[in-house]
């Protein structure tokens, strides 16, 4: 009896560990997005500082490609929006994952209690 519970417990623990990994993955992805967001904000502001006289290039691979200043501004703005959307999406995913992990945690604790009881019983019997 105790062994069965122990197995169950192990399985649950593994699942929980997996969940935690997922959570941390999405967290890191979100953090990356946040840094990108900050960077793009800076780029946007600096582009605004410039006028149309100077040339803007974009680095695509090893090539510096000439871009129009206004085009560049538009592109950066779009990218900003995209990043914001992604961040929101990740946030929602994170919330869900947290909820799930909470549930899992509860299951784990209950199982642990059972296990301890069983162990106590077994010790009593023996």
């Amino acid at each position: 009896m105790a062994e069965a519970i122990q197995k169950k417990l192990k399985a649950e623990v593994e699942k929980y560990a997996q969940m935690q990994k997922d959570v941390s993955k999405s967290m890191s992805a979100r953090q990356k997005l946040e840094t990108q967001l900050a960077e793009n904000n800076i780029v946007k502001e600096e582009l605004d500082l410039l006028n149309s006289s100077n040339v803007v290039y974009k680095l695509i691979g090893p090539v510096l490609v000439k871009q129009d200043v206004d085009e560049a501004k538009a592109t950066v703005a779009k990218r900003l929006e995209y990043i914001n959307g992604e961040i929101q999406r990740y946030e929602s995913v994170l919330k869900e994952m947290e909820k799930k992990s909470e549930q899992h945690r509860e299951v784990l604790t209950s199982l642990q209690q059972e296990f301890q009881k069983a162990q106590g019983l077994a010790a009593g019997k023996v």
């Binding site: 990108q36 800076i42 600096e46 500082l49 803007v56 290039y57 680095l59 695509i60």
Partner: protein
């Protein structure tokens, strides 16, 4: 405070603090770089070209020239480049410096927080060990003087303040002591305050009763056509209880209230009649004191101002006339003891027979209403009154349609019918006392004097509700037959 807790505090705080420090160093380095860049940018365009040693691979240099000293390709971030002059580059650098400084400030703030936390953890450690000057004050829970509890009652209500570590950020030693006191005092006071609470509750109940009485008094003056019959009974009780006071204050309110045609007010009206108006068996006398806002019935139709007033005036006229008529006939009925008595008074004398009216609230002068605005409200009122009439009538005929009693009038004044149809077609026309102005109802009884039949056919299909047709037919047939 256990050793464990202090340990936790310290452990939590330290790593975060360490990270802060690391970031701070990074940021400082970056800002140093930018400052050097600024200097360079300022000196660079001084010359058209510079002789320099150009790095040639990782190990070699070679002499070369630095040209285009004013053309600077700036990395804006995220793989975006911009070619600009030295001055423009300078602007960009300044902008970045601002950003870096902001970051630095934020970091320093967090550092301060962490430091404070660490300090607190250390203090806790000393306290728990009872080494320092600060002692955790603990008192045993026991019976205290009432004076003591009263004095400190307020402290007990503070949110639970166990000296836990993870919440407090402003760290003064006094705070810790206060917390300790509060936490312990709270548990102690909590027991005592229950008794206090019960006493308080009793006081409040008494206060409430007093308040209720006062409210009732004021309600009598304020209430205007409310539907709560209970309140009216209360008022009456109070009227009986303190007639001199209430009579004076309530009379004007009663008169104003009775303007409303709420069923509730019938109770008061009854009293009014007994007190004020012995000569006339009617209810309307209150119409002389007309408030601007007149609520009708259940208060759904509020503030039917102008038109309603007019209608009421006419209504009062009608009632006066009727009242007189009735007065001649039914002197013995002046005694009004129940609402049913009122209805007995409002009896239409038609065809030599006193036919009890379905609803006393319905004004005979409805067809005299001039304003078309009231059509809706009056229609609504009519509906409500009809319902009220039904609820109040005891010895009435079956409640098929309210138009029954009024329909009798066509028998007496058939000539007026043609114009009546016009009324039914939507417009409201001034008329003599024609019952059941109900424009939306009735309308073309199909069987009418021959002249009208044509019109009937036109109008009838449009307007007449099918349900009422059969009955009307019978009545008007009788009328026609009579005429013939």
């Amino acid at each position: 405070i256990t050793q464990y807790e202090t340990f936790l505090a310290a452990v939590e705080v330290k790593p975060a603090g360490v990270f802060c420090v690391k970031d701070e160093a990074d940021i400082k380095k970056v800002s140093g770089d930018y400052e050097a860049l600024t200097d360079r940018l300022q000196t660079l365009p001084d010359q058209l070209s510079y002789d320099i040693m150009v790095p040639f691979g990782p190990l070699a240099f070679m002499p070369g020239k630095l040209v285009h000293t004013n053309e600077i390709t700036v990395l804006l971030g995220d793989n975006w480049f911009a070619k600009c002059s030295a001055k423009q580059a300078q602007k960009i650098v300044d902008h970045r410096m601002k950003y870096v400084k902001n970051e630095l400030d934020d970091l320093s703030k967090t550092m301060k927080n962490f430091e404070a936390r660490v300090g607190f953890a250390k203090d806790l450690e000393t306290i728990s060990a009872s080494k320092g000057d600060y002692v955790d004050i603990r008192e045993e829970v026991g019976n205290n003087d009432s004076a003591l509890t009263k004095g400190k009652q307020r402290i007990a209500h503070k949110p639970n303040s166990k000296p836990k570590l993870d919440v407090v950020w402003d760290l003064k030693e006094e705070d810790e002591e206060d917390e300790g006191e509060r936490g312990d005092g709270g548990s102690r006071k909590g027991v005592m305050t229950e008794e206090e609470l019960w006493a308080r509750l009793d006081e409040l109940e008494k206060l409430e009763e007093l308040q209720d009485e006062q409210d009732r008094l004021s309600d009598n003056a304020d209430m205007n056509g409310e539907d709560t019959s209970s309140s009216s009974s209360e008022e009456e009780k109070e009227a009986e209880a303190a007639p001199p006071v209430n009579g004076l204050s309530l009379k004007p309110s009663w008169s104003s209230i009775s303007d409303s045609k709420a069923p509730l007010s019938t109770d008061r009206k009854k009293d009014d009649e007994e007190e004020e108006d012995n000569c006339l068996p009617t209810i309307f006398f209150s119409h002389t004191v007309e408030p601007k806002k007149v609520r009708i019935n259940t208060g759904k139709n509020t503030t039917l101002k102008f038109s309603e007033r007019k209608e009421q005036k006419e209504h009062s006229k009608r009632k006066k006339k009727n009242g007189h008529n009735n007065g001649h006939c039914h002197h013995e009925l002046h005694k009004i003891t129940t609402p049913a008595d009122i209805y007995r008074l409002f009896v239409d004398v038609k065809n030599g027979e006193p036919i009890p009216r379905k609803s006393i609230l319905k004004s005979r002068s409805r067809e005299n209403s001039v304003c078309s605005d009231t059509s809706e409200s009056s229609a609504a009122d009519f509906e409500e009154r009809r319902m009220i009439g039904r609820s109040f009538s005891h010895d009435e005929h079956s409640d098929t349609s309210d138009g029954i009693t009024e329909e009798d009038s066509p028998t007496t004044v058939p000539l007026q019918l043609p114009s009546r149809y016009e009324a039914f077609s939507g417009t409201v026309i001034e008329k003599d006392p024609m019952p059941s102005a109900v424009p939306h109802l009735t309308i073309s009884p199909p069987a009418l004097p021959t002249i009208l039949e044509r019109k009937q056919e036109e109008v009838a299909p449009d307007v007449s509700p099918p349900q009422q047709l059969p009955k009307r037919v019978s009545k008007f047939k009788a009328a026609r037959l009579q005429q013939k």
